[in-house]
């Protein structure tokens, strides 16, 4: 996303606001508050509360189970609103049961086993890196989540450390807390009635790092997210690849409300998302003021089905033919405000429409839209307005059509959201609506503390002094890592790049497992990978085990450097993991060396009846480029002459 392009968009709809929005004084003035929650998957061999492996490329699905979930009360007896909201959708959840990647613990058929000590150690080490105060006795908790992403309807999560610090170039930021929790299931497919989940990644340990809400500018947010990501990578004990790190951003402005934005895949656009959220809150506050001035009011929804007996409005007709109903309500004083843009290509009406979707209704019709485009005729509009007592000059109305149950729920939600417009900005968790425009949409109300209750199936863990000391010794240290890379690599530029790259963990793993030449490994990861990606080879997709195997085989002199590159190309095109040795054979990529190479030189030399080195080299390399190491061939050829 081009940053400037997007800025223009903001300015286009935000004419009142011409200040330099990079100015941190400006952010101070608007009461900008912002904090990050970084979630990073740890690279442990087993899951957090069971002994399932965290990665097995050749696993298979051995069954499916169906479940339903409900919102229940937390420890203090309150039902969490976000949980209640999810239940409104009342969807069926299906889980793919795997042979190696899931066990009964994952599908909520067996109590958790003891907490994975390896994961806890990494969390303590990372906590030490941020100078955190580590809790004396950890209390595993259940965080209620009834969207189905966890078959148990809660996520196990433990607060491990409090109150640390991180310095970046522009500011120093407090690290509020570090948690150790379980990864959720991935969605395989979804429709209004059911979601299919894959719980194979469920239960993989996840570290959550929360900053204080004192980030001063949108740019600083990006910088801090990068810095935290760096420390995690330097630990060498985190997973890499898409989805293994996630950044949630909390944003509010004065008079506005805390909103949590989730689901960014790229850090690049984080600042733009934040700027858009500021804008959205400003616009909602403007709307609030305007509504207040107009003495606006939102009325309860009414069943209007009888008014549509002869309708030609297609989306209403469709619903009525399925025995559906139409409900509508009056928004007095809302005239032209439902259509007011609050974010690029999003209006107040869109915001209300997001809520309606929670009740399995696709959308709503509001009177700030071009109603004749829907097929409404004047007569029909007249009766609707009469029934709802609409004053054309001041009022708006909203119509919702669908099945009886859904419409009743949807109307309730729409009325609730519309009433929030009179108060200001609702507390919400929001997800990405449009990656290009960097806009977000409502996902669910912001969860409250009432979704937390103790995980009584897992015992508390007392942190001993020995554990703390060990963690302090092994804490990730960027300076130490820099020293190490400078020592290992002849090219300091590459070392610097690697230090802040998401390839660092992979590099450390490859070196540790294969003991291959570090310069070669770093070159492949930092340069070859980029080249190959440009050439259309999706090398980031290759399974880490395969990459490590590749370098192990290379280290044993069984393949050449050229073959490593060739194999990366082949692997990038394959979805499933594969035995590298087999792949080498299939593609005839075995290295020809020593005696074999002598024989080959002799054979070619006889065939062309020449001992000319250049000739031999050219013929042999043209045929066996991938199988022969150039330096070995040179030595051999030179010895012929002798």
């Amino acid at each position: 996303m081009d940053y400037n392009k997007n800025n223009n968009k903001i300015d286009n709809i935000n004419n009142t606001n011409k200040q330099d929005i990079e100015d941190s004084d400006y952010y101070k003035k608007i009461g900008f508050r912002c904090g990050l929650e970084i979630h990073q998957r740890l690279a442990t061999s087993e899951k957090l509360f069971c002994h399932c492996t965290t990665s097995n490329p050749s696993d298979s699905i051995i069954g499916k189970v169906t479940r339903y979930q409900r919102a229940v009360a937390g420890e203090l007896g309150n039902v969490d609103r976000s949980a209640e909201f999810e239940e409104l959708k009342n969807r069926r959840f299906l889980y793919n049961v795997h042979d190696k990647l899931t066990c009964l613990v994952d599908i909520d058929e067996e109590p958790p086993h003891e907490m994975n000590i390896e994961a806890l150690k990494v969390t303590l080490e990372i906590s030490q890196a941020f100078n955190m105060k580590i809790i004396d006795e950890l209390q595993p908790m259940r965080k209620e989540v009834v969207d189905g992403s966890d078959p148990s309807a809660f996520q196990r999560t433990t607060l491990v450390a409090l109150d640390g610090k991180l310095k970046v170039s522009t500011q120093s930021i407090g690290i509020t807390s570090i948690f150790l929790e379980e990864e959720s299931s991935a969605i395989v497919s979804e429709n209004e009635n059911e979601i299919v989940y894959d719980p194979s990644r469920l239960g993989i340990p996840l570290i959550e790092i929360d900053t204080d809400p004192d980030i001063k500018t949108p740019n600083a947010a990006k910088e801090i997210a990068l810095a935290i990501g760096n420390i995690l990578r330097v630990s060498g004990k985190v997973q890499r690849g898409i989805g293994t790190i996630r950044q949630d951003v909390n944003v509010s402005i004065a008079e506005g409300s805390r909103v949590e934005m989730k689901g960014f895949q790229e850090l690049d656009t984080m600042d733009t998302f934040i700027k858009n959220e500021i804008l959205r809150q400003q616009k909602l506050l403007e709307i609030k003021d305007e509504l207040k001035a107009r003495n606006a009011k939102v009325y309860e929804a009414k069943d209007l089905t009888k008014l549509f007996k002869n309708t030609k409005v297609k989306i209403i007709l469709d619903q009525l033919s399925k025995n559906g109903i139409v409900m509508g309500f009056k928004l007095s004083g809302f005239k032209n405000l439902l259509g007011k843009e609050v974010n690029p290509n999003r209006r107040l009406g869109t915001e209300i429409s997001d809520y309606v979707k929670m009740a399995k209704i696709n959308g709503l019709i509001h009177s700030d839209e071009n109603l004749s485009a829907y097929g409404f005729d004047d007569n029909e509009l007249f009766t609707i307005k009469k029934e709802l007592e609409i004053d054309d000059k001041n009022d708006s109305f909203i119509l919702i059509a669908g099945s009886k149950n859904n419409v009743a729920k949807a109307s309730m939600l729409a009325v609730e959201r519309a009433r929030q417009a009179l108060i200001g900005v609702p507390l919400e968790t929001r997800g990405v609506a449009n990656t290009e425009l960097c806009t977000t949409k409502f996902l669910r109300p912001l969860p409250s503390g009432s979704r937390m209750y103790p995980e009584t199936d897992a015992k508390p863990i007392i942190i001993t002094k020995e554990m703390l000391d060990e963690a302090a010794r092994n804490a990730p240290d960027i300076e130490k890592m820099k020293e190490r890379l400078y020592k290992e690599l002849s090219n300091k530029n590459i070392a610097d790049q690697l230090l802040t790259s998401n390839k660092l963990v992979l590099y450390l793993n490859i070196i540790k497992e294969s003991k291959a030449d570090s310069d070669f490994v770093a070159n492949i990861l930092m340069q070859k990978f980029v080249e190959l990606k440009r050439g259309g080879f999706d090398v980031d997709n290759i399974n880490i085990i395969n990459i490590i195997d590749l370098f192990k085989i290379y280290k044993k002199d069984e393949i050449t450097k050229q073959a490593v590159e060739e194999l990366l190309k082949i692997l990038s095109k394959r979805k499933e993991s594969i035995d590298i040795s087999k792949l080498i054979k299939e593609n005839k990529l075995e290295r020809i060396k020593s005696k074999e190479l002598d024989n080959l030189i002799e054979k070619v030399s006889k065939e062309i009846n020449s001992k000319d080195i250049e000739k031999l080299r050219s013929i042999i390399m043209s045929k066996y480029r991938l199988n022969i190491a150039g330096d070995e061939l040179n030595i051999k050829l030179k010895s012929i002459k002798k």
Partner: protein, 441 residues
Amino acid sequence: MYSKDLQEMFDAEHIKPGDIIKIEWQGNVLEGALMPKSEAGSEDTIILKLKNGYNIGVNYHNIKLKKISSKKLNKFPFSNYIPNPELPNISIIWTGGTIGSKIDYIISGVSMTVKPEELLYYIPELAKIANINIIPLFSISSEDMTFIEWQKISEEVIKALNNGSRGIVITHGTDTMHYTASALAFMLQNLNAPIVLTGSQRSSDRGSSDAFFNLISAVRFAANSDIAEVGICMHSNSSDDEMLFIRGVKARKMHTSRRDAFRAINDKPIASITKDGNIKYLSSYKKILDIKEVAVAKTGFEPIVLIKVHPNSDPEIIDYYMQKGIRGFIIEGTGLGHTPVSVEHEGFSWLPYIKNAVANGVVVGMTSQCLYGRVNENVYKNLRILKNAGVIFCEDMLPETAYVKLGWLLANYNVEKAKEMLKKNLVGEIKNRTIYDEFLI
């Protein structure tokens, strides 16, 4: 419980669980609600619930403590519902178990602290199926159930039936539910209504609990089925979309944690029910008849002993129990119904002990630890030896069912009659045919 020192610290500041307190810890000020202490973790650790909902454990050494405000833990909400004269009346007898469990801080586990009315708040669907009369009888863990509870439940069932309930649901801890189901099957005489036991394998304080669907389905069986037997209603498989009604005397818990733990053994389930309430009958059963015989409870029970034999097992255990006055044994034998009998291993042979027991008027019944299949008194010489010693072979009856049955028989009939009835089918506990497709279902 908190340690004595810590408790004294709380007392000095007048701090009670639920109060909002302030702790100075490692140079930070932590604020949150003091949680009661479970038996898990160190007694010297203060459990504090922070504003964000997380609990943390703070060691009380080197901290400062101050009370900010008093707060009582919230009460759980109740339901209000108005009976619908068009719906059948059923009773739910509450006996405890995971189905109504809540977090208990004292034992740090799921425990039975919820009132049944709270359950209706969470499962409003129940009110649409039947008018529900709730009988909060007791709150006892499955493992703590005794025949005294079986007797009380039986009496409550009879009372409720005679007060106009069309069917009865009994919530129960799952571990011994099949024992209770068997006891009720024998104790309830002239039964002409569905008696449905149900429980849950996941506590109802979690959104994924099987309690909801189990209870809804049990109520449906009680309200809508024409089964006049005692049965267990639990999940058919790991999915939440089908429940079974399994004859109580043929049911057994076959898994420690799965929600489909209950299986019919040497039998087919009587019926299944879908999430939407469609009942499908799967095998023959006793139906509700248009008779007006009054159900009565014959609740006598005399505790006997259930023994599992195994290689190297010590038969002296029989003498031990006989000295305590035990009048009946059910043996869970190996295979077709064996105990060690070899004279070469004299110390290991159960034969002299069994002979002695029978000679003293004690009833010895034989079942199989295979669970599936039928015991046999003729196939091998060693079986014939036991038969000749007076052992009663209990056909295809489950060991637990035979245990309950013999205890009930000995309390209500003389020894000779008890022996005769032990191997005769009374309520579906013995079938004379072993069917091919009733294995591992």
